[in-house]
Subunit: 464 residues, 2 copies
């Protein structure tokens, strides 16, 4: 997520900011006519980005006069928070008309996440055919392939010729959402193969589709998690992936642009989780659109849990009260030692989260990983321990105290590296997403245990 | 990066693992013939995944007998480490023949990253036309649009008819890499518009291209960073994005599957950086393929830097030596207080990195963000401070000590929240990627300053 700016990016930012600035000026001057025409020509994603940054009641002044087709496209790109606020003000009939114009997977998303309290009324007010499709999609769990698919794909018969396929495409194209790949179905609706529009166009007109199609297919089930869908599409460089039931009965298609949205959403969600925030829901929304109290509710849970875990450091310290009282200098090194342990553990956990996510590391590699990380931690510990020993002497610590600090660093780094590898691996094995193992969690785990290691070494070396 | 398993995923994992298992068994039995046929039918990405997990010398037994076309496709998907090891064993002529078969942006990548020491010889041994294209791509910086683009796109003239465009597509399709979008150029090679293959196919055969094309274009410059390319493609739901010089002279096209690879790479790179590891280079490679010493070299730099920063905690503690000696119980709360500060700061920094990456927050929002995070930190601090106060009393701390701890939590949470917001915002303003602001960095910054806050409060409240 670099934000280095290139030439073209700078132009683009100017466009956004200029547009937003123009909108603000026009709002202040009560002269919206001047920007409306300009806005209506912009890409729906750009209009949505401007609306996301405006305060709620003002959004209506921009949104309401847009043609209904464009409105639907803008809603498709708007943040959850803004969508909720906008839709809550509209009568059922108007919302239903917008939903009817969305791709049905998006309509299902809006119904489930943005206006769940009005779902029934809205389904009743939508066109029956659309409502039926939405009901079907909503059967599947959140973030599943079934929720993302579209039924509007091109269906070919295996004995069609390429020429007939082109004629069919011309006939249905306005009703089909994705046309880069065409799907070959048998009379029972089972998927037999895929052929790209490109292949059909360049083939001789009389060539039969079953001689053109690729029947060695990668498909997903409707229950497949959206991240798995993204992984398969990126692994195989697909432009769309079919969703089928066992027995290959074809349900729908997930186009690549939906997959890109998943990758963007999940990538940034992972950063949040790694920072110690629950993913999902309102926290995924644009920074300024989340009410502060919602942020705090989300944050405080984890912090309290970590706080309680962290109180064990106090328990450890109290049990070494005498030693600390006799050598006060011992406590000077406490933050340094547990801080270094936490940093080492955070590095390891990020490496493992990535390795597990990309399937480079699997559960059965557990011991291989632990061996590697123990050795790595030991080597890192020896380097940092040497530096710590020297630094402690420079602080005029006694040589035995300096030795204690050096040895403690070696032990804590080795330990932190092992914990940083073990926790995500165990999470993975018990089917918890390793990405919930955040840096703060590992830091906290390492703090109390690292302290105990340090003070035990001190007791032994200093003989207190 | 969830790794929850769905039904279809389970099947896929079995396939991979089974394949790998079969390969291992066949290797052990010295009977590779049995798996070769099976492997040759697999997707190149799957073969690459198996090769990535094998030890180096054994890879040749699988790789060498593959047909050269398939070899090229496998190299296209292989990790850097494996590519390096494989190519280093081959004579120049053989590598050149592989490179000639890759998409030229991939060939440039291999030359620049995997075999830089043999670049000159290889360029001389490649087909002159390909070598020229690669030289052109290598002019552009690493991770730029210019490096990712392909020159092999479909070029239409504005006065062609749809029918003529189809005839042209049939003629050139075998030499063109991406055909989902067709590009309309004027005689000087300037980009006038884009039309999708779909639109050309469904249009009446006599309709002119300049009446079909979309001329309101989003383009990138060859120097544009790959993350900006990904952001634009995901924002506008494109299947490809054209690369142009100022004046719209068209250079090439970046197809969506390359963009997906960028999103996957950057998403996981961000996790590494947030964990306190430098991104890029060898650290991005599959977990088990990175030599341990390379990992340690990469990790120790940051750890040493943080270690030095962390030694300031010792300086702070030594300057409060008397206070700590007179109230030993003060030191029991040190890890708890700085740990909580670090956790709070890590949460905030992850929120800001995300907000900046998605352009929800900009540099000029600095004060708005700081106000918000100060208030948020204060509220979180009041909640946690209340809990800390109670917990300290439970530990039979004196009420003044408990009050000190409670007040310190309020102050440290507010402070950590502000620092967690300020540091990435400042990094962004001075054009450093905020994603390098890792959780360990914030934790370390908060440690020394948080300690000073705590001990100053203690001095005041306890009157020591």
């Amino acid at each position: 997520m670099s934000t280095r700016r290139s030439r073209s990016e700078a132009t683009r930012i100017t466009t956004y900011e200029k547009l937003e600035q123009q909108v603000r000026v026009a709002l202040a001057a009560n002269n919206l006519e001047s920007v409306r025409a300009r806005l209506a020509k912009e890409h729906p994603a750009t209009i949505a980005a401007v609306l996301d940054r405006l305060d709620h009641p003002k959004r209506h002044l921009i949104f309401d006069p847009l043609p209904v087709e464009l409105k639907a496209k803008v809603v498709d790109e708007l943040s959850i928070q803004a969508t909720r606020e906008m839709l809550d003000d509209l009568p059922i009939a108007k919302i239903a008309r917008l939903l009817d114009r969305l791709p049905m997977d998006e309509a299902a998303e809006v119904l489930a996440e943005d206006v769940p309290h009005r779902k029934k009324e809205l389904l009743a007010a939508m066109r029956p055919k659309n409502a039926a499709e939405v009901r079907l999609l909503l059967q599947y769990p959140e973030h599943s392939a079934g929720r993302m698919m579209t039924e509007k794909f091109a269906r070919l018969k295996p004995d069609m010729t390429a020429g007939e396929a082109i004629a069919y495409v011309r006939k249905v194209h306005s009703k089909v959402e994705t046309l880069t790949d065409l799907y070959v179905l048998d009379p029972a609706g089972r998927l037999m193969g895929v052929v790209s529009l490109r292949e059909v166009v360049v083939a001789p007109a009389r060539r039969r589709i079953n001689n053109l199609m690729n029947s060695d297919l990668v498909t997903v089930a409707p229950e497949t998690d959206r991240e798995e869908v993204a992984r398969l599409v990126s692994h195989y460089d697909y432009l769309a992936i079919p969703v089928v039931l066992p027995g290959r009965k074809m349900l729908g298609v997930i186009p690549v642009d939906d997959v890109i949205d998943v990758l963007v959403a999940e990538g940034t969600e992972d950063i949040l989780r790694f920072g110690g925030l629950e993913g999902g829901g309102v926290i995924d929304q644009p920074y300024f659109t989340i009410p502060l109290m919602a942020v705090i509710r989300r944050r405080v849970g984890w912090l309290l849990l970590l706080f309680v875990a962290e109180t064990f450091t106090g328990t450890v310290l109290r049990s070494f009260e005498e030693e600390l009282a006799s050598v006060v200098a011992l406590s000077f090194f406490i933050p340094l030692l547990i801080g270094t342990g936490g940093n080492t553990g955070a590095q390891t956990v990020s490496t493992l989260i990535r390795g597990l996510a990309l399937r480079e590391v699997r559960s059965r590699d557990l011991w291989r990983v632990i061996r590697r990380e123990l050795l790595g931690g030991l080597l890192i510990g020896l380097i940092l321990g040497g530096v710590a020993y020297g630094r402690a002497l420079l602080w005029k610590s006694s040589p035995p105290l300096a030795l204690t600090v050096g040895l403690a660093i070696v032990a804590i780094c080795t330990w932190a590296n092992a914990i940083g590898a073990l926790v995500p691996l165990i999470a993975h094995r018990v089917r918890i997403d390793p990405a919930v193992v955040s840096a703060p969690l590992i830091t906290t785990l390492v703090d109390a245990t690292g302290l105990a290691i340090y003070l035990l070494i001190a007791k032994t070396v200093l003989g207190i």
